[in-house]
Subunit: 190 residues, 2 copies
């Protein structure tokens, strides 16, 4: 296995381990074991576990299919719903486990690692900006009350989604997701 | 220090450590050190770190002043707002750190510890039931649209609050909390 593919194997294994087990429960040993590479090779590619977590956040972001939000194939609020339905399917496929890597690392290590907190903040800021764009489009199309503050509402919907994933993992049921769709699309975005 | 007070010191130190650092980053060593007791004494009082986390969840719940929700001194929706403002002050006092112990343990260990997941679920279920009661009172008083599904809405508000705390810790700002109050009290509960 060449250097480039080894790095890829390690980065992908780190992403999967952090998503499944969290930051502190994941050891570098387990990452290299899952990647099928010698333990020492981790430090040929990453300076620290923290650095591999930053790359994991990037990989997670790339899995979120944000292009669904901006494609012009459907009305804005339908795209917004499809976006969260797509993310929700992931939770169902994982048996109500894992949730959102950004929220998970935020809850577990944002208070203790400034670099991870800053990366999570960039992730949330970019995500909220994309949600805001969809809400703005919906207002322009006349599908959303013009009096709604799109910046505050985008931020709120993102927070609500993050909490919904945690509640669904704790409840091991789709009830919190059902409540999210009902209240956001039947109430907040009337 | 007698047995009873030693147990109290250990339980309180465990609560504070879990709240500040999370489950996996907290060692029994650190709990006993913070409690000022010999390391071995932990197991005289708790069978495992998990068991001390269950007690920590109970201590956290007792700090939430749920009686604010049921006292009849103010209209129901004012009590609901005061409840979340009280919880939000805690985050501000801690410099946007710590957040909610139930959500934190849920995000970090619900996928891996069935006993902690079950305890977190009991915590959320009880909390959602209290929120639901306040919403029902508000409907009965004519302060809340009778068409709102109070069960689903209570669950949603709790999820949204949990995500709001994580977003505020990641953002190290009150913006997510401002968005919560604006959308919940200016939108969801119109």
């Amino acid at each position: 296995m060449g250097r480039a593919s080894k790095r890829e194997e390690i980065a992908e294994a780190a992403f999967r381990q952090f998503h499944a087990k969290g930051f502190n429960a994941t050891g570098i040993n387990e990452i290299t074991k899952a990647a099928g590479v010698p333990k020492g090779s981790f430090y040929n590619h990453f300076s620290s576990k923290e650095e591999s977590a930053l790359e994991a956040l990037g990989r997670y972001r790339d899995s979120l299919r944000f292009e669904m939000l901006s494609s012009q194939d459907r009305p804005p609020l339908e795209r917004l719903r499809a976006h969260f339905e797509f993310l929700g399917e992931d939770l169902l496929r994982n048996g109500f486990a894992r949730g959102c890597l950004v929220g998970n690392l935020g809850a577990e290590v944002a208070d203790h690692s400034e670099v991870i907190r800053a990366a999570a903040k960039r992730g949330f800021d970019g995500w909220a900006a994309r949600l805001r764009e969809v809400l703005t489009e919906a207002q322009e199309a006349g599908d959303l009350d013009a009096s709604i503050d799109v910046e505050s509402t985008a931020l709120f919907i993102l927070s609500a989604w993050e909490g919904t994933l945690i509640a669904a993992r704790i409840d091991k049921s789709a009830a919190p997701m059902d409540a999210f769709f009902r209240t956001v699309f039947g109430g907040v975005l009337r």
